[in-house]
Symmetry: C2
Subunit: 114 residues, 2 copies
């Protein structure tokens, strides 16, 4: 069994508030939300960091964006706006080494982005 | 002539500190940097917001990530880490309505991301 938290969520081995899933990806609520809406969109494929994205994964990364937009529309944050964030490695605060796109909205987001 | 600032940069009609370009994308320094490294990666194709990304653009979005990783390696921020941010609409502070991926690093990034 994998010890990757997000692989285990994808396999339904660990519970999460899943909002969407398809054959390539899933989206679930962040357990420590930083905004009224804070959802993570992940690929089912285990890619540890943004640096590990290969040519053959390019369509998959775009797919995460399409899913993020779908979630934003469903949550009612598309028009006011939302921020998409992917952290890579320690200085960015990457907490789980399986890439995930943070979708944050429902409040005014500040600048700089952390 | 387009009145989109980033289309004009891509056409070399407005100057920018361009770090990388290829047939699909370019990367240049943010004029108001929020970290020691702050680069924008944009597609040449005019896509106003993340909500306007279509199925046929999925590979292009992944390409922006590959370019961002390349920039991070060249700037020496890959291993300490970097944050990738895309703002969509007003609440996120989107300033130019041509999608752009912010690549920020060279310092510890904070949480929440703005």
């Amino acid at each position: 069994m994998t010890d990757c938290l997000f692989c285990r969520i994808a396999e339904r081995g660990i519970p999460a508030k899943i909002l969407y899933e398809d054959e390539l990806s899933l989206a679930f609520e962040d357990v420590n939300p930083q905004a009224p809406t804070h959802v993570l969109v992940i690929p089912r494929k285990h890619i540890p960091t943004a640096l590990d994205i290969r040519e053959e994964d390019k369509g998959l990364i775009g797919h995460l964006y399409i899913v993020a937009s779908k979630i934003a529309r469903e949550k009612g944050i598309a028009q006011p706006g939302f921020r998409l964030v992917m952290n890579c490695n320690r200085d960015a605060g990457q907490a789980v080494y399986h890439i995930h796109l943070h979708v944050l909205g429902g409040r005014r987001m500040h600048w700089p982005p952390g």
